[in-house]
Subunit: 145 residues, 2 copies
DNA sequence: CATGAAAATCCGTGTCA
DNA sequence: TGACACGGATTTTCATG
């Protein structure tokens, strides 16, 4: 994991469709060497997967909200319960007053309300505080450099 | 934007490196037809880009926190000020008590503290409430189906 | 769907710590 | 000596009509 690896990752985050020859040129490597490095980054799990970034609105997921989930019990083993709700994009255990923070995307605020209702059906959940996003400034990949 | 498009997107989210022949087979299309569909999805901006998903810890960004930023002024034009802080991965204008919600990734809690300090230098920022993530259950792409 | 062009992948060889 | 980079040969994939 040196500066060349970081440069490769930054380039791939920007555009993972570019040819290894182009990629190599951008970081000062031959196509083969660039390919080798990237393969190893994948093997080591540094690069988890190659994916596409999709416009949520086009998928009928125009409403974004963050929900603080309060609980009356240990939520450490509740991964599956949260993962079972398809509208939940992220779920994190947090320090502080609430126990779980989830990021939710729905088509409408009605659907958001329905997600909140389903959250209450999860064992141990005692309350929710939803914060609706009015405008997203930006969402970008983790900085590699 | 029909069910086939949604299936294509779901497949690409899972693995964007697969060949169009494989992709086509997965959704019941020929390689050429799959290629055509995906090209159009890119042109229409539904697929914004192809990127790699990287392990934040490997990049020295093992600490994740969400920060509620309070303000004494309209923050609607502050995109650039937040974007200038490289540790900020997402920034959203929110409804409710605080005005901006940011997602921050740093190597250490010391660095997190430094990010908070820099947030206070942004015009109009009057307070912050940081919530540190103890464990991430999951982070996944927006559901396409 | 076929076909030329281009890219990915494999592998032998050389080189630098 | 081991890890890495190079570059050519082969196979696969892409993109065009």
């Amino acid at each position: 994991m040196d500066d060349v690896d970081r440069a490769l990752i930054a380039e791939l985050q920007r555009d993972a469709t570019q040819a290894y020859a182009t990629l190599g040129k951008a970081v000062g490597l031959s196509a083969g060497a660039a390919h080798d490095r990237v393969r190893k980054l994948r093997e080591r799990g540094v690069i988890r997967r190659t994916t596409v970034d999709v416009d949520p609105t086009a998928l009928g997921r125009g409403v974004l909200a963050f929900v603080m989930v309060d609980s009356s019990a240990w939520m450490g083993d509740a991964t599956e319960s949260f993962a079972a709700v398809p509208e939940i994009q992220e779920a994190h255990i947090i320090a502080g007053t609430a126990s779980v923070l989830v990021k939710v995307r729905t088509a409408t605020t009605d659907q958001l309300q329905d997600v909140l209702r389903r959250l209450y059906t999860i064992e141990g959940v005692s309350g929710t505080q939803a914060t609706v996003v009015l405008e997203t400034f930006f969402e970008r990949p983790v900085r590699a450099d």
